[in-house]
């Protein structure tokens, strides 16, 4: 029976393949095109005359003497200080992931093990917080941060991103901890462990699958954020995404547009690698809440 359900007619297979190819083209081609174009000069990547120039590198050959060039990369990384932005992004991402997992696991564990009614209200509040557009929160931060003189520096941004990230992390880890059998830590409690000991010795060894998923989402939030970093950091402390936006805004350098192209590729490549490794966790994280309820 099983085999018959999964047996498809020839037309269906062909139709299917065409559709998948169509979607893959739409979703992947823009990135391949940008990657390829980042090794050309502007006249090629934005060639009005003939789009094949972007493939053959007609103007690149004239301007640099070869069909590919890494000029845009070198210039943006050194002259454009993209290197610094990369360092800032690394600092922000690592700190946000570490802190938000630390806070999130403790909070979510407590939420999943408490039987009192207030856990329900806390989770609902977290859901409301999750829905707040980040820009509305930022508009509330700016004034107090200016008054306290903590605007523009990395630590402020890190804390803010951690907090913004908490509701989602809490929900994700809460549904994960619900799947960890209660009996595990309850037996430890009976044996005389305190809650902290039970958490440390019983829960911590088994919580890594959930933590990796939550970590991946914190990483993506911190790495990809534009709203918070663009408005809460000063120009010197910009992370990668606002930096790319800054390249677009200034016209002083002729090569700036290609800087943006090169830095888009530099910023996207590591993210794609990470997702390639952790694809399974990403998908499981996206579907909790939907399928399990």
């Amino acid at each position: 029976m099983e085999s018959k359900i999964n047996k498809y007619s020839k037309q269906l297979i062909i139709l299917n393949s065409i559709f998948i190819l169509f979607w893959l083209t739409i979703s992947v081609f823009p990135f391949i095109w940008t990657f390829w174009g980042s090794f050309k000069v502007k006249a090629d990547f934005f060639s009005r005359a003939d789009w094949t120039y972007a493939i053959s590198g007609f103007n690149t050959l004239i301007e640099t003497g070869a069909t590919t060039t890494i000029k845009a990369y070198i210039e943006s990384w050194i002259e454009g200080e993209f290197l610094r932005a990369t360092m800032n992004t690394m600092i922000v991402t690592v700190s946000v992931v570490t802190i938000s997992l630390f806070l999130g696991t403790l909070g979510a564990y407590a939420l999943s093990r408490s039987t009192y009614k207030y856990t329900f209200y806390i989770l609902i509040a977290a859901l409301i917080f999750r829905a707040m557009p980040h820009i509305t929160l930022v508009s509330g931060y700016l004034f107090p941060f200016f008054q306290l003189n903590i605007w523009g520096i990395l630590p402020t941004t890190i804390i803010v991103l951690v907090a913004i990230n908490q509701p989602f992390t809490l929900w994700l880890l809460y549904s994960f901890f619900k799947t960890v059998p209660k009996e595990l830590d309850e037996s430890a409690l009976i044996d005389g462990c305190s809650y902290f000991q039970a958490f440390r010795y019983i829960i911590m060894p088994v919580m890594w699958p959930g933590v990796i998923t939550a970590g991946l989402f914190s990483l993506m939030l911190a790495y990809n954020d534009f709203t918070v970093t663009a408005l809460l950091l000063n120009q010197e402390n910009y992370t990668m995404v606002p930096k790319i936006n800054a390249y677009l805004g200034t016209i002083e350098h002729g090569g700036n547009y290609m800087w943006a192209v090169a830095s888009v590729v530099s910023a996207t490549a590591p993210l794609f690698m990470i997702v390639m490794f952790f694809q399974r966790q990403l998908i499981s994280g996206l579907t909790t809440g939907a399928v399990k309820g």
Binding site: W51, A54, A110, I128, M132, I135, L137, G140, A163, T287
Partner: protein
Amino acid sequence: MPHKTFFWFFFPTGLAMILFIGLPIVSSFFQSLHIETEQILMEVENCDPFGCETNVRVDLEATAKLKEQNPLGRFNGFGTYADRNHLAFDEIGEAWKSSSSMSDFKDIVLNLPFYKALLFTLTFCFAVTPPVIILGFFVALSINTLAKIMKGPTIFGAILPMIVTPLIGSLVLFWMIDSQGIIGATIQILFDDQNLSLKASSNLTWITLIIYGIWHNTPFAFVVFYAALQTVPHDPIEAALIDGASRFQRVRYIVIPHLYPVATFIMLICLMDNFRVFEPIIGFSAEGVAQSLSWMIYQDLRNENKMLFGSAGATSMLTIVGIAILLTPVLIRTWREFRTER
């Protein structure tokens, strides 16, 4: 778990959320009640051999002093909410009186900044969501039929648009659609029209942004549908097969009903997330014709020297009201689920 233990476990994350999510909302509201201090004017008498004349000048010193005393500006009550850049009650009232027909009135109202942005935000939300659900469903259905080794790489390729941040995603597309990029230039050649471009008309820009939205959101719908497809029970499908149901009938009458709750989940998340759209507007440099509510806030805050806290706060509050309306169904759903669980 005893209250005290719960408190200490939950304290750090709770504190972070109260300080950086709860308080900013209050602070936003507080800001929205104030307005920037006006500049203090003073009269200066300039005398020269031909006589004296008085000029009105800005008293910089006094203005700075007042600003220092009262950094948030002066109290304005709900004035900012009613002004021309927000709910614009006066302008609407006037338009109602002066306009001759309904469409005339509509034109005037939709040209006011807030209503213009609201119209775009809602259009974007509601135009993006249905195609996302349909396309995501078909992608999930197709990929589900693939051989197992093919699935991994295909899924990876299919979710790429969702992984990149909206700003980068929209830039990548913009560079292709731009009149000098590969697709834009080709379209110009195909239609033999040198002026045909993304920026040619506001309708085209809106359509481009909506296409971007579909491109960005479909992977999410696909992933959720795909996971849900794995949970479709086998027995009813087998039974239908024995009864002679075709593949289409099996999908229509068994799989789709099974996926209804998931589809509503995707729809609500999509609506909520797209309500905050603003990065694509920057990526596509579409500020001229398409403004969203979030973009208005960003615009008020982005100039470091002249931040309009009051205006940004008021728009924020109005955005939150919008979100609250969209959120109500989600809350009711979660509420019910919790009730049945306990």
